[in-house]
């Protein structure tokens, strides 16, 4: 029998970036907020022994324990879905800060084109540029409407960058801190892309170029370029993360309480509202019902979708009929790129997660697609994140993968190879979606989330096009051998690709084609807000966090307004 706890103004499920932003903004506005986090408390103090590639990068110390809960995966509806038994393709977060603790810090604003992709694509290329199998839709919010919220996140995080990309949406203010160091590796890319006629600029980074105090009074230190960023927490408090910014901001108001080891298993619906959430204390085994005026789901793409599904809130998407919106438009990203092998030794082991330079000449609709069989594109970057020795064993194609020749080559190339990578946009397809698995369960007895996903013809065409561009850049950089990434075939759950999963709880201007409205308020329950990259109707050519955070800030404003006046925000 679950114990019912006293009602609060807002209960937030999950304490990563989105949950932290909502908690901070609502608590500052005087609302009483409880944050339920199924993982543990952790912070900078716990990251002093973080330079351990094996523990953190290989064995995923900071990430979700998939023994307890995972997803099932299949490439199409005809295949039986099987559990993802080990994490690999994407790395789900866990604990205070969520994946905002072990992110790299690339902080982008999606393009104006992204938010109105359906309208703008149809206007320029006609309504049949992609077949009707691709479920393109506008987001219900424009870049201009989001701009103040993008900046709010830039300020909270102290983003280091330079407003020198000729293509991106207008920035009302410059970056709060100057860009990171232009290292010799970055300069190779800068020189090559300039000589090819492109427009390189420093990647906007949440690894800060100088110490910074944000408007809430939180201090973020200066990045030391130690080379342990992605998959690690920052021992210096120099990579902006929820646990050093929005969480302490929420806590110091006195209006915010956190509960750890609190795994939410159900959102309780009653009529056209929700009354709270049911959670399990995974240490004591006790069940609680936390009642709240407003429920906010902020537990990543997968768990947000799953909680709505197991709680029977909204209509499950059915690819056969096209009906339903929950689980629809699951997207991922593709990663075209090139590897280059050089003669000179470079300081490849130094770096920071978001130390990089980028060109956007082939992102969004920045180039003409009239004669191309795909839309959108991707941001092409060189990043110097710090090669670590277990994960980085670069060998040219045709080299044996073990034995004497492997050893010699992988050691030689470790300090003599570079990669150019792309965050390639991903368009929604009617056959790519999330639903509940009917066979496999988590340790709490709930069904696992099921992912039905494969790459599309659009993905394959885009991948091939961009890969050729990156090969040319790498040649221009002076590599002796250049190898483009192999063409993509079927999506494979094995091998790390990207933790940029999107969709499933998408936003939009109409309940006919979306789960939440543009304030991320659920169409079927006015006091339920669902926040995260799950809101993206498609995935753009950038890392998602900056856009997720802007949407969260705008939603927080909506929640505060709703708390005063009630009703639909649209």
């Amino acid at each position: 029998m679950a114990t019912t706890l006293a009602k609060v103004d807002v209960v937030v499920v999950g304490l990563g970036w989105t949950g932290g932003i909502i908690a901070a903004e609502c608590a500052k506005a005087g609302l009483k907020v409880i944050g339920l986090e199924r993982g543990r408390k952790r912070g900078t103090e716990d990251f002093q022994q973080i330079h351990d590639e094996y523990r953190y990068a290989i064995r995923y110390e900071l990430m979700q324990d998939v023994a307890k809960e995972t997803i099932t995966i299949r490439n199409n509806r005809k295949m039986p879905a099987l559990p993802m038994r080990q994490m690999s393709s994407f790395l789900l977060g866990d604990g205070l800060g969520g994946s905002g603790t072990h992110w790299n810090g690339h902080t982008w604003r999606f393009y104006p084109y992204d938010f109105q992709i359906k309208t703008m694509t149809d206007e320029k290329y006609g309504p049949n540029k992609l077949s009707s199998d691709y479920l393109l839709q506008d987001w219900g919010v424009t870049y201009d409407e989001l701009e103040p919220y993008f900046y709010k996140y830039d300020q909270t995080a102290g983003i280091s960058g330079e407003d020198k990309n000729p293509f991106w949406g207008k920035r009302a203010q410059d970056f709060p801190t100057p860009p990171m160091k232009r290292t010799p590796i970055l300069k190779k890319f800068e020189g090559a892309t300039k000589s090819l006629g492109y427009s390189p600029f420093m990647l906007p980074s949440a690894n800060l170029s100088e110490p910074y105090t944000n408007p809430d009074g939180e201090v973020i230190n200066a990045c030391q370029y130690c080379g342990f960023c992605e998959r690690f927490g920052c021992e210096y408090g120099a990579k902006t993360s929820p646990e050093i910014t929005v969480i302490p901001t929420a806590t110091k108001t006195g209006n915010f309480e956190t509960k750890f080891h609190a795994n939410v298993v159900e959102v309780i619906k009653s009529g056209n509202k929700v009354s709270g959430v049911k959670y399990l204390d995974t240490e004591s085994g006790e069940e609680f019902i936390q009642e709240a005026e407003v429920v906010v789901l902020a537990s990543y793409v997968m768990n947000n979708a799953k909680l709505l599904m197991v709680s029977n809130i909204g209509e499950q998407y059915d690819p056969e009929t096209g009906k339903g919106t929950l689980g629809k438009n699951y997207c991922y990203q593709i990663l075209p790129g090139a590897n280059g092998y050089f003669e000179e030794q470079m300081n490849t082991f130094m770096g920071a997660g978001a130390l990089g330079m980028t060109i956007d000449d082939f992102n969004a609709d920045n180039f003409d697609h009239s004669d191309l069989d795909f839309i959108h594109g991707g941001s092409i970057s060189i990043t110097q994140t710090g090669y670590r020795p277990i994960e980085t064993n670069p060998i040219q194609q045709g080299t044996p993968t073990w034995g004497a020749e492997f050893k010699k080559n992988s050691i030689y190339n470790y300090t003599r190879s570079l990669s150019i990578g792309t965050q390639g946009a991903s368009m929604p397809h009617k056959e790519n979606y999330l639903s509940l698995d009917t066979k496999y369960k988590d340790v709490y007895g709930l069904p696992l989330l099921q992912m039905t996903y494969n790459f599309t013809d659009q993905d394959r065409a885009l991948h091939k096009f961009i890969t050729e561009k990156t090969v040319n850049i790498m040649k221009e950089m002076g590599a002796k051998t250049v190898e483009g990434k192999a063409p993509i075939t079927d999506y494979d759950i094995v091998g790390y690709q990207t933790t940029h999963n999107t969709g499933g709880t998408i936003m939009g201007a109409s309940p006919e084609n979306s789960v939440v409205n543009p304030f991320l308020q659920h169409w079927d329950a006015e006091n339920l807000f669902v926040i995260g990259a799950g809101n993206f109707p498609h995935n753009g050519g950038y890392n998602p966090t900056g856009t997720v955070a802007a949407l969260a800030y705008r939603s927080a404003e909506g929640i505060i307004k709703y708390s005063k006046s009630g009703g639909s925000l649209v």
Binding site: H51, Y54, L82, G227, N347, I390, W402, K407, T415
Partner: protein, 246 residues
């Protein structure tokens, strides 16, 4: 010529980060690295069981049941990452001990992996679907390596020639050897991956002895900061540091 940068002091570091003094916790010890004798000339270990000293084995076993199992895995990892003129191979780096420790712990028991049934083979794109833990796969795989050597060469795996070992390992890699509940290709990938992990993980895990894996690769290990050297054009040769050595 590469220059050796001046050591970046903790005080300099604290100044540039603005981090509060005392927030950094040093500590830890380098355990078990010193005093292990390794015969630098002969890395090949026979299966007579009397030659542990060649591999610097004062370590004892946490997972392997006998010297024969240990020797099989030692020889397999050495073929994957052999001693050469660049530096030591898997055995001298302590990789077999690294694997032994890992198999005895969470890695071997798959404690962070979803191990609930029902189990099915699945498509390649669906990844690992075995009901076996890594510990079970290694135990079975080692036995099958020995059986295959006996079948082909009438000797145990650790008594055959290096080229013969390569032939068998290649057959595993190409999924030509029957195993139960797992494929030989998967077992091969496990050994290969574990070998690289043991060669390059921090020495506190029992491999990468003397940080020789890092020294070969010119990876400096645990360094507090590169802020003063990252914009230098020249390659920086930096003395490696282990986590436990701060």
């Amino acid at each position: 010529m590469t220059e050796k940068p001046k050591n970046y002091s903790r005080r300099d570091f604290l100044k540039t980060t603005g981090i509060a003094t005392g927030a950094l916790i040093g500590g830890g010890l380098i355990g078990g690295l010193v005093g292990l004798n390794v015969d630098k000339d002969d890395q090949h270990v026979s299966d007579t069981g009397n030659t542990n000293h060649e591999m610097g084995t004062n370590g004892g076993f946490q997972f392997f049941q006998n010297q024969r199992e240990f020797n099989v895995i030692s020889n397999a990892t050495e073929r994957i990452f052999p001693k050469d003129d660049i530096g030591p191979g898997a055995i001298e780096l302590g990789v077999p001990y690294f694997i032994d420790r890992q198999l005895a712990g969470q890695y071997g028991s798959n404690t962070k992996e979803y191990m609930q049934g029902p189990f099915a083979v699945g498509a390649k794109t669906q990844g690992y679907q075995s009901r076996l833990t890594r510990a079970s796969i290694f135990r079975q795989g080692i036995a099958v390596l020995d059986e295959e050597a006996n079948k082909r060469f009438k000797k145990g795996f650790s008594s055959i020639e290096a080229e013969q070992m390569d032939e068998i390992l290649t057959a595993f890699q190409n999924d030509e050897i029957p195993m139960t509940g797992v494929t030989s290709a998967f077992f091969f990938r496990l050994i290969r991956t574990a070998t690289l992990e043991g060669a390059y993980a921090d020495p506190m895990y029992g491999g990468n002895r003397n940080m020789d894996g890092w020294k070969m690769k010119e990876f400096p290990g645990h360094q507090m900061s590169y802020i003063n050297v990252i914009d230098k054009e020249k390659f920086q040769k930096i003395e490696p540091q282990p986590l436990g050595g701060m």
